[in-house]
């Protein structure tokens, strides 16, 4: 199997889907000739033609409005929002339109579109190039929300998202584009080629939406994470010496409640980790679900390790980032109780 970065894996997913399904189109700001500011669509226009992969004006709401219309026609648009921070102008088309179309039309019209958006911090992007707004979209009924943590999953999940008949918002942790990242920003960066999940089949395959993965089995505590935080959690578990199970959600909505419940019932202790700000983040929903489903198994309060309730600061990025040491502390607290 070839080694791929997450960028290459995402590129491969789109390449394959453009070839398999003549209704797939890839659109967004700078995605055409140039191949995207993160290079995820590199070479796709050249290979599949200017009518399948093309640049759009800088108008996120226009991109998603057009994508909804394309969906209604019968296409499967894959739209890139250049940074997740810039998805707000398109909120209405996503929330009021894409997510509601099937319901409000009694199933006659649907919007099987995929919105790709790089998210998360760790690249000195400051408050408008570092956000993780997934929590907002998990509140929107009719939308599926996905966030992969490695190239293998990224490709399989993106293919599933494109093939899914409902709108999917696909968040890509940009700090993982070129290599795994466990929060130790002062250590040398590693390439995906040295990571087992950097091995990615060249061909078509899917990873089903709605199914979590056990990133590390364990019995003493459960860590629920997704995206970059999976790597942070794994590092923290290793450093803590606690035999914790790490769940990589992969899909946030619909969330894999069975995997979560099975784990917490086993461990009785739970730490939830995300990079997004804490209040009303997806961690709140996870915490509520865990206590609803596993109340009588819980031996300690569920802990949330998250971004602080502030914008993502530029210079103090590493003070802000919920790194391994904060996860270790939380693990220690849940074990102590």
């Amino acid at each position: 199997m070839p080694a791929m970065t997450m960028i290459q894996a995402l590129n491969s997913a789109m390449d394959i889907m453009l070839a398999r399904d003549p209704n797939v189109v890839v659109i967004g700001e700078d995605v055409g000739y140039f191949g995207g500011v993160f290079r995820c669509t590199d070479g796709l226009q050249k290979k599949h033609g200017r009518h399948r992969v093309f640049d759009t004006p800088i108008a996120e709401a226009g991109i998603l409005g057009a994508a909804v219309g394309m969906s209604v026609y019968g296409l499967r648009p894959v739209a890139e929002i250049q940074f997740a921070d810039y998805i707000y102008p398109a909120a209405d088309q996503l929330i009021s339109e894409a997510a509601r179309l099937r319901y409000r039309s009694g199933g006659e019209f649907t919007a099987p579109l995929t919105v790709r958006a790089p998210c998360g911090g760790g690249i000195y992007g400051g408050q408008t190039h570092s956000q993780s707004p997934e929590g907002i979209f998990t509140h929107v009924c009719g939308l599926k929300t996905v966030m992969p943590s490695n190239p293998y999953d990224a490709k399989g999940l993106l293919i599933s998202a494109i093939e899914d008949d409902d709108p999917v918002i696909f968040f890509e942790p940009k700090r993982l584009y070129n290599g795994p990242f466990d929060g130790h920003h002062d250590k040398p960066t590693r390439p995906w080629a040295k990571h087992p999940h950097g091995e990615v089949p060249a061909d078509y395959y899917t990873i089903p939406l709605g199914k979590a993965a056990i990133a590390r089995p364990g019995v003493d505590a459960t860590v629920i994470a997704y995206g970059t935080m999976v790597h942070v959690a794994l590092a923290a578990v290793a450093e803590s010496g606690i035999d914790a199970e790490v769940i990589d959600l992969r899909t946030l909505i619909p969330v894999d409640i069975e995997t979560i419940t099975a784990s917490v019932e086993k461990t009785g202790r739970c730490v939830i980790v995300h990079e997004a700000t804490r209040t009303s983040g997806f961690g709140a929903e996870l915490s509520a679900l865990v206590q609803e489903h596993c109340f009588y198994h819980l031996e300690a309060p569920i802990e949330r390790v998250t971004g602080y309730d502030t914008p993502y600061p530029h210079a103090l990025e590493w003070e802000y980032f919920p790194g391994p040491s904060r996860v270790v502390e939380a693990l220690r607290r849940v074990m102590a109780d």
């Binding site: 189109v25 009518h51 399948r52 759009t56 004006p57 108008a59 709401a61 226009g62 409005g65 057009a66 994508a67 909804v68 219309g69 394309m70 969906s71 209604v72 026609y73 019968g74 296409l75 648009p77 102008p89 209405d92 088309q93 009021s96 339109e97 509601r100 179309l101 099937r102 319901y103 409000r104 039309s105 009694g106 199933g107 006659e108 019209f109 649907t110 009924c141 009719g142 599926k144 008949d165 409902d166 709605g210 909505i253 619909p254 969330v255 409640i257």
Partner: protein
């Protein structure tokens, strides 16, 4: 009661110079249309469908009119429609009006929660639907019920939606008049204004990508043109030369605000198109022939790959905004009757009579036939239920269609709901 503070004396303020647009007349004042410049019918030239947007600029401030004061069709925009088609147009408009009247009454009788009429604007939907191909895709607002009627969509089906009854294809989910029909090529109406506009452009882009000859048409009220989606639609349509007709129905009012608040004081809405290099044509929206002709022209232009056209349909919202609205609070009571462009039904009727293709007697007869047709449909629809009395779709359906496949949380919620 905390923090009670003394009232601060107000410092004298310099005179404000923010311009706040005001309509020419308010309740209690006589309607005033003196500033409306209405050109004579037949005077507007008819350009080639491949004319450049630049050549077409004068049309954005003109007003394309075909029927003169006596109901004669004059000038180069005369679409020369055969009498049968004209009678069909008249019938569609009259049926729309009869339908509106009954459903309005049904709402007043408590059979449903809400209704919106298109009184005075019947020509827009009727003429435009007839000028388009049946396969073209329509992205309307809530005030183009006439599109469905022109496409011979069953009134009963429309009523089922308004009543949210057991035969409502939308399963009682949408507010009344938010119709949707894939089969009729009529896109699901959204409560959120303007969203359909860029969607129509996306649909048209898709058609162009596929080398399809079908085009899209979208409607928006003049008030809603202020939304960003209007801008996105024009931008995308211009950039990709999408085969789409972008209609702005300028009916002078957006609930309580006149078209000046939407930005129509200094210029026309058709002019918006100029800034994008899109032709903007302004048309007498109460002139069936003119609306038909302009729409046909724009559709031919789009189908011949010359790109989008914006049409401003200049008309007047003669009724209240909706059953929740009371226009006597914000505009002169008699404004509607004094609208200088008249009533679209009366005008087409006059035209047909002047052609010797219609008569007062036939008109009265058709009117009562249509009332009967609507009444019959109404009875049938009510037999499937009304909002107040039911029956409705079962509560189980509430959990369906959120996603194609129901996820666990909805399955569980359905179960907990006991349905």
């Amino acid at each position: 009661m905390s923090n009670v503070r003394p009232l601060q004396p107000r410092a004298p303020q310099p005179r404000p110079y923010l311009h706040i647009p005001e309509p020419t007349a308010r309740p209690g004042e006589p309607a005033d249309f003196r500033t409306l410049a209405i050109p004579e019918a037949g005077r507007q030239p008819r350009p080639a469908i491949d004319a450049s947007a630049r050549e077409l600029r004068p049309f954005a401030e003109d007003l394309i009119r075909v029927m003169d004061g006596e109901g004669h069709a004059v000038g180069p925009w005369n679409p020369e429609i055969d009498p049968e088609t004209l009678r069909r147009g008249l019938r569609v408009m009259m049926l729309t009006q009869a339908y509106d009247k009954r459903m309005y009454r049904a709402q007043r009788q408590g059979k449903t929660s809400f209704y919106m009429k298109c009184t005075g604007e019947e020509a827009v939907a009727a003429a435009q639907a007839m000028a388009l191909d049946r396969a073209d895709m329509l992205f309307p607002t809530y005030r183009q019920q006439g599109l469905l009627i022109a496409r011979d969509w069953p009134l009963v089906d429309m009523m089922n939606q308004v009543y949210s009854n057991t035969k409502d294809r939308l399963k009682g989910r949408q507010m009344p008049v938010f119709y949707s029909s894939a089969e009729a090529g009529f896109f699901s109406i959204s409560g959120n204004l303007a969203t359909q506009y860029s969607q129509a452009v996306g649909w048209a882009m898709a058609a162009a990508i596929k080398g399809d000859s079908r085009i899209a048409a979208a409607w928006i009220g003049e008030g809603a043109t202020a939304e960003g989606d209007f801008h996105h639609a024009l931008t995308f349509a211009a950039v990709y030369r999408a085969p789409v007709i972008l209609n702005v129905v300028n009916n002078q009012w957006a609930i309580s605000t006149f078209q000046g608040i939407a930005g129509g004081e200094a210029t026309t809405f058709a002019s918006r198109a100029i800034g994008f290099g899109i032709p903007g044509l302004r048309v007498d929206g109460n002139d069936f022939l003119a609306v038909y002709a302009v729409t046909k022209w724009a559709s031919m232009r789009a189908r011949a790959h010359h790109g989008p056209t914006l049409i401003e349909l200049f008309t007047y919202r003669a009724a209240a905004h909706s059953t929740s609205d009371d226009p006597s609070k914000y505009r002169p009571a008699e404004e509607a009757q004094q609208w200088p462009l008249g009533d679209p039904i009366a005008r087409l009727k006059q035209h047909l009579i002047s052609l010797g293709q219609w008569s007062e007697e036939r008109h009265v007869q058709l009117e009562s036939e249509l009332v009967e047709e609507v009444r019959a449909a109404g009875r049938q629809a009510e037999s499937y239920g009304t909002l107040d009395k039911g029956p409705h779709h079962s509560a189980k359906t509430m959990f369906e269609d959120v996603f194609k496949d129901m996820p666990w949380n909805l399955r569980r919620q359905r179960q907990e709901s006991g349905v």
